[in-house]
């Protein structure tokens, strides 16, 4: 049965009507119309649906929406930047052509954002380990690693 729940997504609290058992992925996509978060497998195996919940990466296809209706801060790719106002990682992914078809890219950028949030200057091994559960069938892996390193190497602006 559907009921009303509150979701804090990209800094805005929305009251949505949704099946609380339903995965966050489909609530984001169809109720909140945030379609940057992608369906890839529905079993938490590909990472295309990655979102941040209180700064940590989760597979939104395996998170029940009711489990994050208590004020948890959910951030999707749309919350990281937008055309003309890119985050550093988004700009670096662009610059390095760190994608082929681009379908897995939102999940990659979300996961890399969490990595750099926890570890601002990761080694290559740490990048591989943090990103390893995100799959890219175009295998843009080398360019993704370069893009992340580029941001990791650049000095952080105060407050950013």
């Amino acid at each position: 049965m559907k009921k009303e729940i509150n979701l804090n997504v990209n800094g805005t609290v929305s009251r949505v009507t949704a099946d609380p058992e339903q995965s966050l992925l489909w609530v984001l996509r169809d109720v909140l119309k945030l379609t940057g978060t992608k369906f890839g497998c529905g079993e938490g195996a590909c990472g295309a649906c990655s979102v941040l919940i209180d700064g940590e990466v989760y597979r939104s296809c395996t998170v029940a929406s009711s489990d994050v209706a208590g004020g948890e801060k959910i951030v999707t790719i749309e919350g990281l930047g937008s055309p003309g106002n890119l985050s550093k990682l988004q700009a670096a992914f662009m610059e390095h052509t760190a994608f082929g078809c681009g379908y897995c890219t939102p999940g990659m950028i979300v996961t890399a954002t969490a990595l750099l949030g926890a570890n601002p200057s990761p080694s290559t091994e740490e990048i591989v380990s943090a990103m390893n559960d995100n799959l890219c069938r175009c295998a843009s892996y080398p360019n993704i690693i370069e893009a992340i390193k580029d941001v990791a190497a650049s000095p952080e602006k105060p407050g950013s």
Binding site: M131, A139, Y141
Partner: protein, 708 residues
């Protein structure tokens, strides 16, 4: 909705239209333009039926719009076309529009497959645009009353070289007429100007990194229903539904429709999870396939095989083999593999007034249109396919079933129906795998240690990859079809991959029989000297020293030819853990002769990706199946390359920016030599030759044990 002459006239809209036939017949057609007036077109000339299937419209405002029925798959076609046309006509990218993949306002210029779009459509436009420039200069000469040879084409204007105040913008030359020409993109004719890669960013880059690129599944959020068909437990061609509880599905809150079709059943619901819950609730039972299960793929392929064609037959191979002092006869067998795009097949369909519009993730909008029309028993004129950006296709979306599935369900529903394949349905619902192939190959060496004779028997349905990359005076190559129960699908690299694995593994074994270093043996035997700089480049990249030997560590090479004109070579260094059977790729290098590079950014990303495809196919990709069903039904069952599989990669492109070199495409080529170079490196490392793939640790350990 069907494309009509009227549509074309509307597209021209008072501008100036050019329609080209990019004839890839090798006839060297070089594009003399013929004019048609609007009146002539209205009187019934249909340009499409005459093969003029590439359209470019110059608008009165100076904008340029190109129409292609092909789609962007992530291979960079949109980037390539944008780079080529904007450079050729000196129009800034923001004034260039690309209309792609819409059957109602694009011509059918073929499917988006086989690395062909860059070399045929892209380079066709490069040549065509030089014709357009000449044509515009001739028109300007008439308007400006100046001799054509005094006029130059400059940044979208025609300017008098003696008097720069005399100029006219190209948009002002648009007069509502149509000019047509036939051009052979692969012919000898070359424009005078040299294409210069400016390294522009991929066309959709900003939309991709912000998650705002609209794929088919992203359309109409909150305003569509989700429809899904059951995924049969068996291959769908071999089974049909026997019983189904539709009422149980209909009782689920949020389910709108649950119906049985002739062979399958489906449900439409508010959302994706509910539609799939409805399918589960149906408790369907299925007809068990009548055929016996497959016990051994090789045996089954051989049992059903029938000779299709003799591909090559010259000299007297049987006599030459009989008299050869050194003959090597081998058999190679490959596995089933799956394309695994991260975006599963997706389409959205809407019926209005007996006509259906399908927004689809498809590599071939026109094939999809035919499939939808056939499945719904309506005319193609009642179907419009709008090709959306494809979230990975790799062959499986050449004619995706989701398009017709969505249309079938939309017809029974009164709204918009979105069909997103579950991962299980993507893997196991269609069985369109890369086919398992058997290759028998016997070669005999002459006294000069060159290949004197060979016979090759290839058992596969696809028919690619039968051309020898070596110069052999006596050859018989025969192709057999396999009559396997499950129709194979197209997968990146097609059967060049399976043939390349067999041929280049065999070549290394021949080198050993000949007592020659594998690189040296190839140098002596290659069919064209163009391979030699590629081999040299690879040897240099990987610091090759023939005599060097380290325990459980080795370097391997391979070459390949794809599509006749793309040449490549790979060098791989591996180490093998003989206790665990694990193979570690230390380095992976590739050298490719693919002509002029259009965009190094998308090319490099694609090429490295294709090398990783070779790695995955060689080491772990495999669909397990028994002739009734696929056991591989989720990503947990099928490993694709991931970050931790990435070795240091090095690539080089030879013959780039050499005048007269057309681009030849590189989307598939690098897959092929990577596979066999890995196998050859493993042989150097541990002395074990593998005749089947993939090289899982279990298989490596078993082979090591057998070798002891």
């Amino acid at each position: 909705m069907p494309f009509s002459r009227r549509t074309f006239l509307e597209l021209i809209g008072g501008g100036l239209a050019y329609a080209f036939n990019f004839s890839c017949s090798g006839d060297g057609a070089n594009g003399e333009l013929t004019s048609f007036s609007i009146e002539e077109l209205e009187s019934g000339i249909d340009l499409r039926h005459q093969g003029y299937t590439e359209w470019l419209v110059l608008g009165r405002d100076g904008s340029v719009t190109a129409h292609t029925g092909r789609t962007e798959l992530g291979q960079g076609l949109k980037t390539v076309l944008s780079d080529i046309i904007s450079q050729a006509l000196e129009v800034p990218p923001e004034r260039l529009n690309l209309v792609m993949g819409d059957t109602s306002n694009c011509p059918d210029d073929g499917p988006t497959t086989g690395s062909a779009a860059t070399r045929n459509v892209g380079w066709g436009y490069w040549i065509a645009c030089s014709r357009i420039r000449e044509d515009l200069i001739r028109r300007a000469a008439f308007v400006l009353r100046r001799p054509a040879k005094k006029l130059i084409y400059e940044a979208g204007e025609i300017v008098d070289s003696n008097d720069a105040s005399r100029r006219i913008a190209i948009g002002d030359l648009a007069d509502g007429t149509v000019r047509v020409a036939t051009i052979d993109p692969n012919g000898r004719h070359r424009p005078n100007r040299l294409y210069v890669d400016k390294g522009s960013l991929a066309a959709n880059a900003e939309a991709i990194v912000t998650g705002t690129l609209t794929y088919a599944g992203d359309l109409f959020p909150g305003d569509s229903q989700y429809g899904a068909f059951l995924c049969p437990p068996y291959f769908y061609q071999l089974t049909k539904i026997e019983s189904v509880d539709l009422d149980a599905a209909r009782q689920i809150h949020g389910v709108h429709l649950a119906e049985k079709a002739s062979r399958n059943a489906w449900a439409i619901a508010d959302d994706f999870p509910t539609a799939h819950r409805a399918l589960d609730a149906m408790n369907a039972t299925w007809h068990v396939p009548d055929r016996p299960r497959t016990v051994d793929v090789e045996q089954e392929i051989r049992a059903g095989a029938a000779l299709v064609k003799t591909m090559e037959d010259h000299g007297d191979p049987s006599a030459a083999l009989a008299s050869s002092p050194l003959v090597l006869a081998e058999t190679y067998v490959t596995q089933y593999a799956s394309q695994v795009p991260i975006e599963t097949e997706t389409a959205v369909a809407r019926f209005e007034n007996d006509k259906v519009t399908v927004w689809a993730s498809t590599q071939s909008p026109f094939k999809s249109r035919a499939s939808v029309a056939t499945r719904l028993k309506i005319s193609e004129g009642q179907v419009r396919i709008i090709g959306m950006p494809v979230g990975g296709g790799f062959g499986v979306k050449d004619n995706p079933q989701a398009a017709a599935d969505a249309a079938v369900m939309a017809k029974k529903s009164d709204g918009t129906v979105k069909c997103v394949f579950s991962r299980e349905r993507q893997f196991a619902g269609r069985g369109r795998f890369k086919e398992a192939v058997v290759i028998d190959i016997s070669s005999g060496l002459g006294p000069d240690r060159k290949i004197a004779a060979r016979t090759i028997d290839i058992y596969q349905d696809e028919g690619f990859g039968t051309t020898d990359t070596y110069e052999v005076p006596n050859v018989l190559t025969r192709l057999y079809d396999t009559k396997m129960p499950v129709r194979h699908g197209v997968m990146r690299g097609t059967s060049f991959v399976q043939s390349g694995f067999a041929m280049e593994s065999h070549t290394d074994m021949l080198a050993e029989v000949a007592g020659l270093d594998p690189v040296e043996f190839r140098r002596r035997n290659v069919a064209t000297p163009a391979f030699i700089p590629l081999l040299d480049a690879c040897a240099e990249m990987i610091d090759y020293e023939p005599a060097r030997s380290q325990q459980n560590r080795g370097t391997g090479f391979a070459i390949c030819m794809h599509g006749g004109r793309q040449l490549g070579a790979a060098a791989v260094e591996v180490s093998v853990n003989t206790a665990t059977g694990e193979i570690h790729i230390e380095r992976l290098c590739g050298a490719y002769d693919i002509g002029t590079v259009i965009n190094i950014n998308t090319l490099t990303a694609n090429t490295k990706g294709a090398m990783m495809w070779g790695l995955g196919y060689a080491l772990f990709e495999e669909v397990r199946a028994d002739g009734h069903r696929a056991f591989t039904r989720s990503l947990e069952d099928y490993r694709i390359p991931r970050f931790s599989d990435l070795p240091p990669l090095e690539i080089v492109f030879l013959n780039n920016a050499v005048k007269g070199q057309s681009p030849r495409g590189c989307g598939e080529l690098p897959v092929v030599p990577t596979v066999s170079a890995i196998c050859n490196a493993i042989y150097r490392a541990i002395g074990v030759r593998f005749y089947t793939l993939p090289l899982t640790p279990e298989r490596v350990l078993a082979a090591l044990a057998a070798n002891r």
